[in-house]
Each structure stands twice: as C-alpha cells, then as structure tokens.
Symmetry: D2
Subunit: 143 residues, 4 copies
C-alpha cells in the first residue's frame, strides 16, 4: 500500500469546495497508509425509538469513512460513486459518539473495496461492520 | 401472506407518537398484502457532487420502506431493529422524486427479510436494489 | 432490455468447450429477455445436517444463474468474474429439486447486477434471495 | 470473548459423526479465542476458466470457516444455520492453497456474525472478504 496523498485538512478543503453537505458532520481523527479513523459526535437527531442511534446514521458513517479513505489515497476524486454497501448491525449503539475505522481491502483501476468497523465511545465492542465498494471513473482516477 | 393490519394513516399516527424523526420525509402511496410503496419527494439537501441523489439517502429510504412494511403487517412494533442491509446502486438517480417498493420475502418469528426496488420519477429503470433484515423482539412481535 | 443472443443449447456448447466443470449440474429451463430460469436436480451430496440442502449449494446456484443470464445476453464471455454476492437464506430447503430465476437489474459497460430468487419444488415460498455483481472485462464485453 | 471449547480434533470427530460431507476438504490450522484459521488445499476441481479458483469454492470456504468458529466457541451445534452471507471477491485467486481466517464479530443468543478474510498461499494480499450470519437455534445454543 502507498502513502496517503491528502491530509484531513486537505479533505476538509476539498469538501468545502465540492461537497459542502458532506462537511462538518464527522471529524477525521487519523489517516494511516491504508486506514482512516472518523468520529461522529453525538446528536439527538440521530436517535430512534429505544434511545439508540439509527441505522441510516451508521450507514452514512460507513459510506463516508470509505469515501474519505479513497480521497486520502487517490486525491480529489469527487465523482467516485458507491456501487454497493453491506452493513451488519451488531449491537444497539447507545446515545454517544461513534468512531469508524475504514480499511482498504482493494484498490483496483475500476473498483475499490473498503471494510469499516464502527465502535461506540461507550463500551469497546463493535456496533457495526460494513463493506463498501466504490467505482472509480477513469478521468477522476487519473486526476 | 396475510392482509395488512395498519393503514398509511395508522403508521403516520404511530410515528407521530413514537418516532417523530422518521415522520414526514417520505409518503406511503400504497399498502398491499405483502408490499408497501413509498415516495421520497426531491430535496436539494440530498444531492451529492455531480447533481445526483446521495447513497445515504437511498439507504435510509430502503431501510424505512421495510420498516413501514413490517408495521403494516405486524402492527406497532417500535423496537424492531435492522440487523443487516445490502444495497446495490444501479444508476445515478437524477434530482427528482424517488419511489421505493418493499416486498416481504420472509416473516419468521425472529427475523423478517424484505427486498426493495427504488426507481426515479425520471426514467423507469431501477436506481437501486436492497435487501434488509429486521430482528423482531419477542414482546413486540406478540403485541 | 434487448433480446437473448444465446439459447440453452448454445450455452451448453460454450460450457462444454470452456468450462466443463460448470456443465451438467443444472438445467436451463427458460431464457426470457431479461431473465433465466435454472433447475438444480436433487442430489444427496448437497445435504447438510437436518436433511436440508446446504448453503454452498444455494450460493453456487445463484452465482451460476447470473452467469448464464449474462451469457444469454452478452454471448460467450468466459472471463466475466463475480465481484460480489449477497444471499439471504429464507427457509430451509427440503431434499428436492430447486429452481432459480435470475433477473437482470443492470447491464453496464463494466458491471452487471442480477437478482436471484430460489424456490423449492416442494412448497411455493422462496428459500433464498441473492444479488450478484459481475465485472465485464473490456475485450470479452466487445466480443 | 471466552476461550474455545472444541479443538480441531473435536470438530473433526463431530463432523465425522454428524456432517461427513463437510469433513476433510479443509484443514483447521489454528483456533484462537475469537478466531479460526482454515486451509483449503489446491484441487483442480475448483478451477474456472482463466485458471483461477471459482467463486463457489471461496463462498463455501467462508461459510465453513464461520461454522467451525461457532463450533469452537459453542460446542456441537449441528443445527446452526446460515441466514445470510456477503462476499467481496477482491483478486482472482491463482491455482494454489487458500487460507481463511474467520473472526467473531458478535455472538448473541439468537444470531452470530463472523468476518472472513481469505488469502492465497501465493502473494499476501486478500483474495476475498466475507461476512456471514448464523441463526442459533435455542436448544442447540443451550447444548
């Protein structure tokens, strides 16, 4: 695996310019060669009945974590698109911050696959596991 | 398959009482014996770079469609929880209303599985396909 | 959707020449514009404890059904490869013939996605549902 | 996570008695607290066009790896059944031995989820990644 080509600040500037809706709701806490760590601060907006964080919140976090991982490795590829996502919800996440670690499993010329583990700041067991596939458009890939 | 036990209005009242965050962003357009149709009106908040609707928007719609399908069949089961979801993004959805049809594949005592097909109001091809599994908690199931 | 370009006999001859291991264990019973029906005769080799057909048997059937669907639509593409498969096992299949219907959800230039419903000859409910993605290599696609 | 309750030899004896078809085609090489390593010796029967190992071979290996992981943790639960499996095929596996590592992500009272990483003896990159969910029947769970 090669080294990252964008820092957390680079990614934030890229989002500010091209994808403002994706900016600010999470916080990149680490970028390693083939992994990115992301924190999602607690928000009552993300709760569902029973007082746990909602499934769509975890799915959006998993998708975002792999997107940021690809940005960190490929540079600015605004048009990379998710082609599939599978998530297993393992434990009901209590109302607290979440952390996601996305790891690169494959970076091909046309497809990239990442694996995501999501934990709660409360307790150390996994709350969800996901795999996410992105298609890499030829021009963006070359950029 | 048995007949539905909740109408669209029943589901709306249930959401108003137990799950207000899930209310109002979609509109149930039909409930059949083992299917529910749902419409998601267009909102610019759901766009991503390139002007297409975002993946998390489609994932939330698929998850919601199966949840409403289970409500329509089981009655008020606030605590049914998603255990897994797989989505295939087939075509980039243009900025327009989406419609989702959720179909019940299995309704067991502990697990229920639904399949979701999502189309755009523009064009008639599928934009996404998903399968969603819910765990049915014993007390809620009996309710 | 366009019309099929290979018949069941064409596919059998293609398998005999290029993929003999995949030949003979299933039987194509129908090819429609965007669907293929496949039958898997009962074999005691496919049983697991409890007397039901094994998961790997159903997974191989789902993968094969989409492969034959792509052959029927694209012509001889020996090197199309599965990139991902998700299967939901819905009911334990009794020791009897299985039938699979694969339906084309997307046929792009690089990826194709099919959905598979598997039923038992005993009972009419679904025993499994799967989605399968294939990558289409440029030369094979053009062939 | 608790300690394993069955050794590789225990599992082999259990398979010999209850599930002879599942015996012998793989070899357990390690059992740790929450992981099992499995080797699949090369067999020309598992090849597909292009000289790579077939998808169904990898799917059967992933399913088996999680089944053995559950046996190692729960003891003899012959009737645990797979409820869903998702596999991502990352690189075409050359004609060589495969090794699978299954890791336990969740062990609930009703569902267990494992993650599987499959590598080839040739090269050290992943050839496939899978997640597998099993349902644990109440009596078997208690056994």
């Amino acid at each position: 695996m090669a080294a990252p080509v964008m820092t957390a600040d680079d990614i934030d500037r890229f989002l500010a310019a091209h994808f403002p809706q994706a900016r600010g709701w999470t916080r990149i806490t680490a970028i390693r060669d083939d992994e990115v760590d992301l924190a999602l601060p607690f928000s009552a907006d993300n709760l569902r009945p029973g007082g746990t964080l909602s499934g769509p919140t975890l799915m959006a976090l998993a998708d975002t974590a792999v997107y940021f991982l690809l940005l960190s490795r490929l540079g600015p590829v605004a048009l990379a698109v998710t082609t599939s996502l599978t998530i297993n919800f393992l434990r009901r996440p209590p109302p607290a911050e979440l952390t996601a670690t996305a790891r690169l499993l494959k970076l091909g010329t046309r497809l990239a696959v990442g694996e995501v583990h999501i934990r709660s700041a409360v307790g150390d067991e996994l709350v969800a596991q996901a795999s996410v596939t992105y298609a890499l458009p030829p021009p963006a890939r070359a950029a």
